[in-house]
């Protein structure tokens, strides 16, 4: 009941004045259907002998998987359900993303994990790299050694070596040879995906916003599971066109006064969307997300005319991702500042999944930037995937929105 109250009070304010109900783009449905349609696509692809590589993180150079004619697919790890099962093997006070990822694998409830021939992990944080050791007992896992001081020459060299190693692992596991031509084509295709993804997320530079944070999250989350990456690009392009068309007819989400929130910090997906949904239930809009599931990775498109070794180009690309596992990590603050300007942000929420030390510590720097340098309201929220604190979080988020 509380939800309806908040929702009516806020998001529909604009539409209600005009005596309308807020319209959502009809094409959103096609994204909701991806999961069911996909099962079949994956099954058929496997029967044809197509290989699947499961990935967990934005640092995974998916171009190498694509270039091998295989399917790179993001694995499940955003839901609460398998966490209890994961806690049989993992400590309780570990980040929910790691526990959920492991739980899905251990209980064989993630179809994409099930279909995967190889899992690619990276030494991003302590919890993940140790979890991968346990995961290796279930499926073949290859862990890349990700250096964490990105601007050192030795780091780039190590990471380039790691990409070469991954190429060999993929070639051996999938019994293929990755040609330079295929790799350049994969780079092009990945660029296309990032370009369209960025275009979709950039729709909300418009004030009032054109698409809700929940709808954006659902769309970008679902499309990550799509077996056919080219099809994903087309689907996003069609959605962008539809949103623009609706905007031209005067449809928008919220109004000039709706608080525009930027969500930063740890990644979110469907099942772990509670902060996004709470903000929007309480009358705000998450117009942008600076996290690896959101805007961050769309910044790193590759120059396709660059004729150097493609593995070196990719090494540079992936080492530029400003995740809190890197030290120092000024790229995140620079991106945040730019996004706050571009998206006309009124307040910043920094989400930290419990036991994620790197994002938790880095919140200090984010708070300094947002509160002291930019003078905007800021709040850090530390939580997990469960709904046990939903009502206390609602108080905090409502009070935060009241500050704006």
């Amino acid at each position: 009941m509380g939800d309806e109250r908040c929702y009516a009070k806020s998001l529909c304010r604009h539409s209600k004045r005009k005596g309308e109900v807020r319209l959502r783009p009809a094409l959103l449905e096609s994204f909701q259907e991806i999961r069911d349609k996909n099962m079949l696509t994956f099954k058929e692809a496997k029967e044809r002998g197509v290989k699947v590589a499961g990935i967990y993180c934005g640092y995974c150079p998916r171009e190498l998987v694509l270039a091998a004619g295989a399917i790179p697919v993001g694995l499940c790890g955003t839901r609460e359900e398998p966490i209890a099962a994961a806690e049989k093997d993992l400590p309780r006070n570990l980040c929910p993303l790691i526990k959920s990822s492991y739980g899905f694998a251990a209980t064989d409830t993630c179809p994409y994990f099930h279909f995967s021939d190889l899992i690619i992990g990276e030494t991003t944080c302590d919890g993940k790299k140790k979890m991968f050791e346990l995961l290796g007992k279930i499926k073949p896992v290859h862990v890349m050694n990700l250096p964490q001081i990105p601007d050192r020459e030795s780091s780039l060299k190590l990471w380039h070596d790691e990409l070469q190693r991954l190429q060999k692992v993929i070639e051996e596991s999938f019994a293929v040879e990755i040609s330079e031509e295929a790799l350049r084509e994969a780079i092009h295709q990945t660029n296309e995906e990032l370009r369209v993804r960025k275009e979709l997320l950039d729709l909300n530079r418009n004030k009032p916003a054109l698409i809700s944070g929940m709808d954006l999250l659902m769309t970008t989350f679902q499309v990550g599971f799509n077996a056919d990456h080219k099809e994903g690009v087309v689907m996003m392009e069609r959605l962008i066109a539809q949103v623009k068309e609706m905007a031209a007819q005067g449809h928008q989400v919220g109004d000039e006064k709706t608080p525009r929130i930027l969500l930063t910090g740890t990644p979110v997906g469907m099942g772990s969307e509670k902060i996004v949904s709470l903000v929007e239930e309480c009358g705000g809009l998450v117009v942008a997300m600076q996290n690896c599931s959101g805007y961050t990775c769309t910044q790193f498109m590759v120059d396709e005319n660059d004729q150097r070794d493609p593995l070196m180009i990719l090494a540079e690309k992936y080492l530029s991702i400003p995740c809190s596992v890197m030290t120092p990590n000024p790229g995140r603050l620079a991106l945040l500042e730019q996004m706050i300007k571009d998206f006309q942000i009124d307040g910043v929420i920094d989400l930290t999944w419990q036991a994620c030390h790197t994002f938790n510590v880095e919140s200090f720097n984010v708070s300094e930037l947002v509160k002291n340098k930019l003078g905007l309201p800021f709040i850090q929220i530390e939580t997990d995937y469960s709904n046990s604190d939903r009502e206390t979080l609602r108080v905090r988020i409502e009070a935060f929105l009241e500050m704006i």
Binding site: M1, G2, R5, K371, P377, F378, E382, D389, E391, T392, V395, R396, E398, A399, E402, M403
Partner: protein, 255 residues
């Protein structure tokens, strides 16, 4: 113009009614039904004043029960309401510490009582009114007796900050034959330190308003004074700051 603020907290319900002449308050234990208690306390106060619900121009609901009150014109969080109420009760204060029944919050405010920043306890019940109630019960005392008992006693060190483990620790100390007053003094000190570490995240404040039911505990106040090195002011209406703030915001809303 008549406006009202209804603050339905986890332990008690507070109502403030503002008429052009005066401010009046009423308080009642919330019990198990925030909806009924909220309505009954509100109607009770109006009746005492010789008014009906129709005479009231705007009602703001706050506290955890705010979402269950059908008669309010607008629901506003207790953070915003406490800030507004505290600024009205105490001049020149830049920070509010509110310790309520189930949470504690530190709010940085401007002169008008607008929220600039806030933190809330998010890990557990330790350092809340409920926590003090539990410990008092374990000691066979009423919460109101805690302050007097700790007066002049050397605090024992308490390490547990989880409400349940702290209770076990207190029971252990009692079994070891330690003085109740020293235990309570230790309890106040550990709560004050916890609150102080939250308050220090908000920066320095020279003059702090302390509200919520727990502010009536003088022993805890003097610990806070010591730990924070700041002036701690407890207004007589410390438990009513939320309801008052809600009523003031109702008035702001109309004008």
């Amino acid at each position: 113009m008549i406006v009202a603020g209804v603050d339905v907290g986890s332990i008690s319900t507070k109502v403030a009614v503002l008429t052009p002449e005066k401010i009046t308050y009423k308080m009642a234990p919330t019990g198990w039904s925030p909806r009924e208690t909220g309505l009954a306390t509100y109607q009770g106060l109006l009746q005492e004043l010789g008014h009906s619900e129709d005479d009231v121009d705007f009602v703001v609901g706050t506290g955890y029960g705010r979402i269950s009150l059908p008669f309010v014109s607008k629901a506003i969080t207790e953070i915003t309401c406490h800030a507004r109420g505290a600024a009205h009760l105490v001049n020149d204060s830049t920070m509010v510490i509110d310790i309520g029944g189930q949470d504690s919050k530190i709010i940085k405010i401007d002169q008008k009582g607008k929220v600039l920043d806030f933190v809330m306890n998010d890990k557990c019940a330790a350092g809340t009114g409920r926590f003090l109630q539990m410990i008092a019960a374990a000691l066979g005392l009423d919460v109101a007796e805690l302050s007097e008992l700790s007066r002049g006693k050397t605090p024992l060190t308490l390490n547990s900050m989880c409400a349940v483990f702290a209770e076990s620790e207190v029971i252990g100390l009692l079994a070891a034959g330690r003085d109740k007053g020293e235990i309570v003094a230790g309890l106040h000190q550990s709560i004050a330190r916890r609150i102080a570490s939250m308050a220090q995240r908000m920066g320095k404040a020279a003059r702090i308003t302390f509200t919520g039911g727990v502010a009536r505990n003088e022993g805890l106040c003097s610990c806070l004074r010591e730990v924070l090195g700041a002036e701690i002011i407890v207004p007589a209406e410390c438990q009513l700051a939320g309801a008052l703030g809600a009523a003031l915001l109702a008035r702001d809303y109309l004008s």
